[in-house]
């Protein structure tokens, strides 16, 4: 008997291939989005791990120091000890490849190939012995990964220009490293590998190395006491810190991708519900022949899987293709915001694919559950008419809506409960969205009651037909509206977040970039510290005519036992100081304390991450040992969501005995042309120096470009959700079309023209779009509010201002109606084309 049931279901699916196809696409798109995001997240994580692994190798600890690094003499003394624990020196920095058409940034990695001794097998030095002598003895020479050399268009033996430490140099490419080792491929990607001496010369780091990687047996201390300012840190905490930093970013992406899957679920639900309705007579027949309820239930779920499994498989495959594109977007953002990361390729994690598969099949079963229950509960005599069913749906709609309203309220309460955790925020977002979907059928019906009157006045019978049609097929239209609502509200909510965020960043940039021109050296030192400018050069540049005032800054990444802390050193005047956006604290009161080493400032992200307040103390490692600094103020800064500490140069000099500065902010006298000064600065710097001169406007523009890049991935995800919803409407309309064949035939028979039928169908789909858009406007606004004030706040600790924008608020309407109309065109044409006689006879 079950074979018969199975065959019956199967034949039924095949009877509507178009619908089956649409449902499959819906699942596929949802699964593809979720899988692609997961693959991209995993890929970025893997790339981060591999990069750290390549750089760390077998080291258990690293010794780091500030301001310059670890004295090289300490390293030599360590090596000379009898039975010294393995140790290898490292110098790391960033350089720019200058004379190529597209300037690239490369990591400069200096190691002692002789000291590696298997410390970092991934460096691939084992295969490079033939080049060892040249690497060690030829100044300004190095190796590149084969792929990197290809990207730069360089062959072994080539000479190329770089800019580093504010100087131009010509590097000879001694050879390329050809490797299949994934760790090496990731770790050496976009890296110029040089001898440690060469690195020291390129970065001007005389007497110091960036860090010393060592292998210490458990419980063993360094054999030599650490020099002042040098810290011993576990080697593997870097990856943990990085994973922690990027966790929120990745969680947000996952949440977005799950929304697309939710939209996909509506589609499969719609397709299954339709198939159950169509089969009611058949189900009745089967039940009359003794097929049990459980068998019918199982069979309907199985039918769902018949669509869901191929849809999921296509989705996973599509996700693999999409994943690569998304990976580059994710990696780019991580590279911009957190960690130098260049991803080589997507190595798909089988687990991601399995997850995608489980999600797709789970979603299918969930979406088929209600239709399956309905099928199982169908009366034995197939007497229940379609209209009766719709009536039941209309009756149920207010109940669903009440549950939806309850869910929304609960979501708001969850969102408003103060917490630092991201998960309740994401849960509230999900609950809000699902609740809105539950409200959709009732809302659609309610809206049709409201618009019927005006419609009849405008479009006559056609209007009444369209509004009535939407209400009559509420089981169909309700889900389509829900899908479209979720997708367009998401577009609007994300848009509001990005708009508000961007507006806040623009405001911040405008108020804090007060200088007209910024001067810095190209590249960075080890640990991404900025390169100090020669004090003599600073003096020379500052004394050029036309300059009103000068502020100095420097970025230092301080290694602390809690991870790397970004420090921002400032030597500025009061007007510049007062341009900092203080959330807590008062400029005038803080100014003398900031100058005199009494108080430091922290950014709100740091305050949020570490739960710090004004008056709290923060401990930083200084050459004289750990020192407590008092937090005098909390200011807003969007450069790093890891947080930043701002201190006066005076404070830095007192504790770290170092007064170098690396950024010169120049304010021009009134009426002086920036271009004239830019030229004068270039001349004053001399030809051999490579300085970065950026105007105020260019700096803001670069910052906003980075900002926009960060959100590029969300644009892709929004588009995918919208595309999925488009297929949702297509499915619903195809179903309605099949159901209304007879009704429309009757209308034709009583004299309606083809054009009138077509218009009526289009009007109906337009009404679907209107319903979805209208519901999505407030939903999008609430989502936008939640994203700005709950999700973003908890993920990154940033206070953003809402920048309401009519265009963004109205966006759901502007998207939903055209989407619905577009999806309606084929249905309208088909319905209008059906010859009435045939349709009437057939049924």
């Amino acid at each position: 008997m079950s074979r018969l049931v199975w065959l019956a279901g199967w034949r039924h699916l095949l009877a509507q291939p178009g619908l089956a196809f649409l449902a499959m696409i819906g699942v596929a798109l949802g699964v593809a989005t979720a899988t692609a995001v997961d693959l991209a997240n995993q890929g970025a994580l893997r790339a981060m791990r591999l990069s750290v692994e390549a750089a760390t190798g077998k080291a258990t600890h690293r010794l780091v120091g500030h301001p310059l690094g670890v004295p090289e003499g300490y390293y030599a003394a360590w090596r000379l000890l009898p039975n010294a624990p393995p140790a290898a020196p490292v110098i790391e920095g960033t350089i720019r490849v200058g004379d190529l058409p597209d300037p690239h940034s490369l990591t400069l990695l200096g190691v002692d190939p002789l000291a590696e001794g298997g410390m970092r097998p991934a460096l691939g030095l084992k295969g490079q012995q033939a080049l060892l002598a040249a690497l060690m003895t030829r100044p300004d020479s190095g190796l590149l990964l084969e792929a990197t050399a290809d990207t730069l268009g360089l062959k072994p033996g080539a000479r190329f220009q770089i800019e580093a430490n504010g100087q131009k140099r010509t590097i000879t490419l001694l050879g390329v490293i050809a490797t299949q080792d994934p760790v090496a491929k990731q770790g050496l990607n976009a890296t110029l590998l040089v001898d440690i001496g060469t690195a020291q010369e390129i970065l001007g780091l005389s007497g110091h190395i960036s860090r010393m990687d060592v292998i210490l047996e458990p419980g063993r201390n360094p054999p030599l006491p650490l020099p002042a300012g040098v810290l011993l840190l576990p080697a593997n905490d870097r990856i943990e810190v990085l994973e922690g930093l990027t966790r929120s970013f990745r969680a947000n992406l996952t949440a977005l991708s799950l929304l697309a899957l939710l939209v996909g679920m509506f589609i499969i639900h719609n397709a299954m519900a339709f198939s159950v309705v169509r089969r009611r007579p058949l189900i009745g027949l089967l039940r009359a022949q003794g097929v049990t309820k459980a068998e019918i239930f199982r069979q309907t779920l199985l039918d769902g899987l018949m669509l869901g499994i191929p849809g999921t498989l296509i989705g996973v495959a599509l996700g693999l293709l999409l994943g690569e594109g998304l990976l580059h977007l994710v990696a780019r953002t991580i590279d911009d915001l957190y960690f130098r990361l260049q991803v080589t390729d997507l190595a798909p994690e089988p687990f991601s694919l399995i997850k995608g598969g489980v999600l797709g099949i789970g979603a299918t079963l969930l979406a088929s559950w209600l239709p399956a229950r309905e099928a199982a509960n169908a009366a034995v005599i197939a007497a229940m008419s379609r209209s009766h069913l719709e009536e039941r749906h209309r009756e149920a709609a207010p109940r669903w809506a009440r549950i939806g309203v309850g869910g929304m309220l609960l979501a708001l309460v969850v969102a408003l409960v103060p917490s630092n955790r991201l998960e309740p925020g994401l849960a509230a977002m999900g609950l809000l969205t699902v609740s809105a979907a539950l409200i959709a059928p009732w809302f659609t019906s309610w809206l049709m009651d409201r618009v019927r009157g005006p419609l009849v006045r405008i479009a006559g019978l056609n209007g009444a037909l369209a509004a009535g049609g939407v209400q009559r097929s509420l089981s169909r239209t309700g889900t389509a509206v829900a899908a479209l609502t979720v997708a367009t509200a998401m577009v609007s909510g994300m848009g509001l977040l990005i708009h508000g965020f961007r507006g806040t960043v623009v405001q911040w940039l405008e108020s804090t970039t007060v200088s007209d021109i910024y001067v810095s050296a190209a590249g960075t030192l080890s640990n991404a510290d900025s390169i100090p400018l020669d004090p003599e050069l600073i003096r020379r540049l500052s004394s050029l005519p036309g300059i009103a005032s000068v502020g100095l800054g420097r970025r230092v990444n301080l290694e602390t036992p809690e991870g790397v802390l970004r420090l921002h050193l400032l030597e500025i005047d009061y007007p510049r100081f007062s341009s900092l956006l203080l959330d807590q604290g008062n400029h005038a009161a803080l100014w003398p304390r900031f100058q005199d080493d009494e108080a430091i400032l922290i950014t709100e992200s740091l305050a949020f991450r570490r739960d710090l307040r004004v008056g709290d103390r923060i401990t930083l490692p200084t050459p004289a040992g750990p020192h407590d600094f008092v937090i005098g103020g909390i200011h807003r800064d969007f450069r790093s969501d890891a947080g930043m500490i701002t201190l006066s140069l005076n404070t830095w000099r007192r504790h770290w005995h170092d007064a170098q500065m690396s950024v010169l902010g120049i304010q021009l006298q009134a009426g002086v042309e920036p271009d004239a000064i830019l030229n004068a600065l270039r001349v004053a710097a001399g030809p051999e120096r490579s300085l970065h001169l950026q105007s105020n406007r260019a700096l803001r523009q670069t910052s906003l470009e980075i900002f926009d890049r960060t959100f590029a991935i969300t644009r892709a995800l929004r588009l995918l959700a919208l595309l999925t919803a488009f297929f949702g409407v297509l499915t619903a309309l195809a179903a309605i079309g099949h159901e209304r064949v007879r009704e429309l035939a009757a209308l034709r028979a009583i004299g309606l023209t083809v054009g009138e039928i077509r218009r009526s169908v289009l009007l109906q789909t337009g009404l679907l779009g209107l319903a979805a858009g209208t519901l999505a406007v407030p939903l999008g606004m609430v989502q936008g509010w939640m994203l700005i004030h709950v999700i973003n706040q908890r993920a990154f600790g940033w206070t953003l201002e809402s920048h309401p924008d009519l265009w963004l608020v109205a966006q759901p309407l502007l998207l939903a109606i055209p989407t619905a109309l577009l999806a309606g065109i084929p249905a309208a044409r088909r319905m209008a084309r059906t010859p009435p006689v045939e349709a009437l006879r057939e049924s």
Binding site: R79, P82, K126, L132, A133, G197, L313, P348
Partner: protein, 387 residues
């Protein structure tokens, strides 16, 4: 039937395609080539290095120090030691190689800039414990990490320093520790330096310049401490030091060499080396030296001695098959000796190049009288001949 069937087929094909693209056969990992010291460390073709072509006048102590105008150089100390109670025997080796990376190095700003590389091998043969311990170290001749002068040569914590004696008959202090082993030895030369070959010019093949400057301290009275694991022994015995510098590598037709240093208990020493050709024959330039108790030196041309190997040993670590045990006859000097490795496994299997360097025991007759002794044997270039 058709559309759905099409979708099943299409999805299977799509997934198959993607899976093949991502999960398909990866290129196998290329094995890095084994390090060839002579080919790799420094360019053998660097014409700026001097060649050893003519005999030279040796000057001590200056010649104990480095000769950077030549590409490579070594300080090679081997010895046989016995514990104070006579119960335990040890062999040891400390070799420090200097390799010139560039004959005309560029001037460097960085203190790391180096034109010399130092490579060291340290080994202890724990004869009683039947264990062979060996380590390799490499460092650059910069930043005080490694270097040499007339009084000292060091590679990080391993060093050999001249602490007394006369320039030709010095006293040395040897210090080296790594992992489980440690050596602290005083070495007093009982005989002055022996210039090998033609007044110190030791030819290695027919080619001009394929030679080295070579002198030896053939008997160094040795005493001090050996640590293996947690245990420390007071030891005494005899050591041998070879000093050699050159720019040449093996000739194209040469496979490797067998080198023997024998210290007989009657006060005589014998050194000879056999340059093996790839065709299995001996290079005629193989030669040796006989040193009398009073320091008198007699050269041994190749035809002056006969040697035959008595067995072989295959390394479980590298699979290389080495000869093991020899019978050596020097008819003119009425020497008939049997050489037996104190341990079979004295292969430096974890060094950059694999070779066998081990302590041997000697039994035989010298001028008709029973004689015993100790020595060291070095076997190189057997890797190629192994299957």
């Amino acid at each position: 039937m058709k559309p759905l069937f099409f979708w099943w087929i299409a999805s299977v094909a799509l997934i198959g395609g993607v899976a093949w693209r991502w999960l398909g056969p990866a290129t196998p990992l290329a094995k890095p080539p084994a390090m060839e010291i002579h080919a790799a460390l420094g360019a053998p073709t660097d014409p700026g290095f001097r060649q050893a072509t003519t005999p030279r006048v040796f000057e001590f102590p200056a010649d104990h120090g480095p000769h950077p105008e030549f590409r490579q150089e070594w300080w090679y100390v081997t010895g046989n030691l016995t514990s104070e109670d006579g119960q335990d025997r040890f062999g040891y080796q400390l070799t420090l190689f200097r390799v010139g990376l560039d004959s005309n190095p560029a001037k460097r700003e960085s203190a790391w800039g180096a034109s010399q590389l130092y490579l060291g091998h340290l080994a202890v043969s724990d004869v009683t414990g039947r264990r062979f311990h060996h380590f390799q170290k490499v460092s650059r001749g910069a930043l005080g990490l490694a270097g040499a002068d007339a009084g000292r040569v060091w590679l990080e914590g391993w060093s050999l320093a001249r602490v007394g004696g006369t320039p030709e008959q010095p006293s040395l202090r040897l210090t080296a520790a790594q992992g489980s082993i440690e050596l602290r030895l005083e070495l007093n030369a009982l005989k002055p330096v022996v210039l090998q070959g033609e007044g110190g010019l030791s030819r290695k093949s027919e080619q001009s310049g394929a030679a080295s400057y070579y002198y030896s301290l053939t008997r160094l009275e040795s005493m001090g401490e050996v640590r293996v694991g947690e245990r420390v022994w007071r030891v005494h015995g005899a050591s041998w030091m070879d000093r050699e510098w050159s720019t040449s590598a093996l000739a194209a037709d040469q496979a490797g060499w067998d080198w023997f240093s024998l210290q007989l208990d009657d006060g005589w020493e014998v050194m000879f080396y056999r340059m093996r050709l790839k065709n299995g024959a001996d290079d005629p330039q193989s030669q040796g030296t006989l040193v009398a108790p009073d320091g008198r030196v007699t050269p041994l041309p190749r035809e002056a001695w006969r040697q035959e190997s008595l067995g072989s040993w295959t390394s479980p670590a590298t699979g290389i098959r080495y000869p093991s045990g020899w019978r050596v006859v020097v008819p003119e000097h009425r020497l008939e000796l049997t050489l037996t490795p104190r341990l079979e496994n004295q292969e430096l299997s974890e060094a950059a190049i694999h070779y066998w360097e081990g302590a041997i025991g000697i039994e035989g007759r010298h001028a008709g009288v029973l004689v015993t002794g100790s020595g060291y044997v070095e076997l190189t270039g057997y890797a190629a001949s192994s299957p």
